[in-house]
Subunit: 335 residues, 2 copies
């Protein structure tokens, strides 16, 4: 281990997998050997790591012998099928999918918030949903200061949350519009360019989507508040990367806007951008490529005595996915 | 009056003024004579009404002699300056600007909701802000059924809300992106293509924008609920026309999702689009060009016992502006 770890990246050709490779480089993660995996049709292709090509391998448990940590960004079905075998082969799996997040035996970790939870892992650690991560980052310091009682969150989610296909679809539809051609939905259920799709994931019988219930359940698990009341609305918007969330949070103890600014400023992984006089507030294009979550538009709620409203933006592929996963690996390294 | 009215449209070259002309045609409003006005630099140009060109005139009170109803879509400063003179000249002014909305002597009217308020006018009637109109449409039947106590509203506002310059800016920035050129903000404070700008209008000292306070104050005035608690967040999104609002509304009496669907379906000016199994919910591109407001994603709030969440979309230039103004004129005709 002194000379580094053997690292696997599963889903290495996808948007989150590609970003994971970039973040392992940027953060100088001690990679001794890198093995990259993707779907059958990518076998034979290669990805780039530290300027060198790395061949894509076929996903089979035997290929994980000797792997220390496997970053898994290949979807829930693949994670359910392969993660337990990879753990048996001796690796620790950090999974970006929804497969294990609510499993009571699997820690669901945002390192700035609940690093302690990582210690109890049994081979698999889960990375929360991207919208959840960006939302809980500012909720944690508010909870510590005033005890959260209710959260009302409305998301504005970038197409990158749907992976490379989502990014390609916004790009292709916009180019078609520029050429005066029809805009054809392929990946999303409806046109996404110049439109809003107020439905992400499938619907439950109560009218909430899977994405909305992830926000409710994962927020409760990460903050260790099983009874927290959360009202979620998740919407896909024509933005390439970075998710934005408008939040109204209520606490037992009133937190003023000035106090909240101070709390956010001091919380690791959050950056305060809240200077209305200079038209300074977080926006997706300004946050793209950054690891922190950016918070602004902080104001006391006009509709509840202990409410606080704010706007938080995070790069969905970085803190919302790859950065958080690599931070979990860094936790494992240190322990 | 038997052969029709003399109608003036002020701001006739703007986005709302142009839509007003279309809606007067569509609704076969009894126009005997049409006079159109715009800024100095448009004088000499013409607009089209019922297939005929109508010359743009200079805005001066003398030109309003004989006018019955003047539709005013020329901004607050112009409205403050000219509307009282036009009233003195004998016309009734229906103003789309923010100039008189909160004036206790001026009715603020959404005809489906408070037609009775129009009766008390003294020559000026105000049309609410576009986001307010779309938001209050579904709030009214909920209030009548269960008495509203609190509204949390997050808007996704199209660039048409900023007029023809806003529409041109999204168009130009998107075309620049397609050509690989830089995206230059001219009208909005920041890039709007592929971005979100969580600030509309100027900021007040408490951190709320003018747009957000319009939503609070106008909703209270229209619903005649001066103490209604409203939590507003308004955001500009890269959509051409149609504003969308994610709303959580709390009522004294619980309203189930099924009851709300029934209430919305029966309310004039609302159309229910709420069939998740068929991926059917309101979206800006689907609503563009329609006069109704469309409501969907109806579900009982997970975070409050008497809360209901929904998503409402309305064409900002139609029900959010011109249609509502022409409906007010129709009220005047009938009385």
């Amino acid at each position: 281990m002194a000379s580094g770890l053997c690292i696997a990246v599963v889903g290495a050709t996808g948007a989150a997998g590609q970003t994971t490779l970039r973040i392992l480089e940027e953060r100088k993660f001690p990679v001794r050997e890198l093995r990259t995996f993707a779907s059958e049709r990518s076998v034979g292709k290669s990805v780039t790591f530290r300027g060198e090509p790395v061949a894509i391998r076929r996903l089979e448990p035997a290929a994980f012998r000797g792997v220390d940590i496997a970053f898994f960004s290949a979807g829930s079905a693949q994670a359910r099928k392969y993660a337990p075998m990879i753990v048996k082969a001796g690796a620790t799996v950090i999974d970006k999918s929804n497969a294990f997040r609510m499993d009571p035996d699997v820690p669901l970790v945002v390192p700035e918030i609940n690093a302690h939870a990582a210690r109890g892992h049994h081979g698999i650690l889960a990375c929360p949903n991207c919208t959840t991560i960006v939302t809980v980052m500012p909720l944690k310091p508010l909870h510590d200061a005033g005890r959260l009682t209710r959260v009302i969150a409305t998301s504005f989610q970038a197409v990158s949350g749907a992976g490379v296909n989502g990014i390609a679809e916004l790009r292709e539809q916009t180019l078609a519009w520029a050429r005066g051609e029809p805009l054809v939905p392929r990946h999303f259920p409806h046109q996404i360019a110049f439109n809003l799709v107020p439905a992400i994931d499938t619907f439950g019988p109560d009218g909430y989507t899977g994405e909305e219930m992830k926000l409710v359940n994962e927020t409760r698990k990460i903050l260790e508040l099983p009874g927290l009341r959360v009202a979620p609305t998740t919407v896909r918007v024509p933005v390439f990367t970075s998710h934005s969330i408008a939040v109204t949070a209520e606490t037992e103890v009133k937190i003023t806007a000035a106090h909240a600014r101070d709390l956010f400023e001091r919380f690791p992984g959050l950056t305060l951008w809240d200077d209305p006089a200079r038209q300074r507030y977080p926006m997706p294009v300004a946050v793209e490529g950054q690891d922190d979550c950016f918070v602004g538009r902080i104001r006391e709620d006009l509709s509840s005595p202990n409410g606080l409203s704010f706007w938080v933006v995070g790069d969905q592929l970085r803190k919302g996915a790859a950065t958080n996963a690599v931070q979990i690996a860094e936790l494992l390294l240190r322990s």
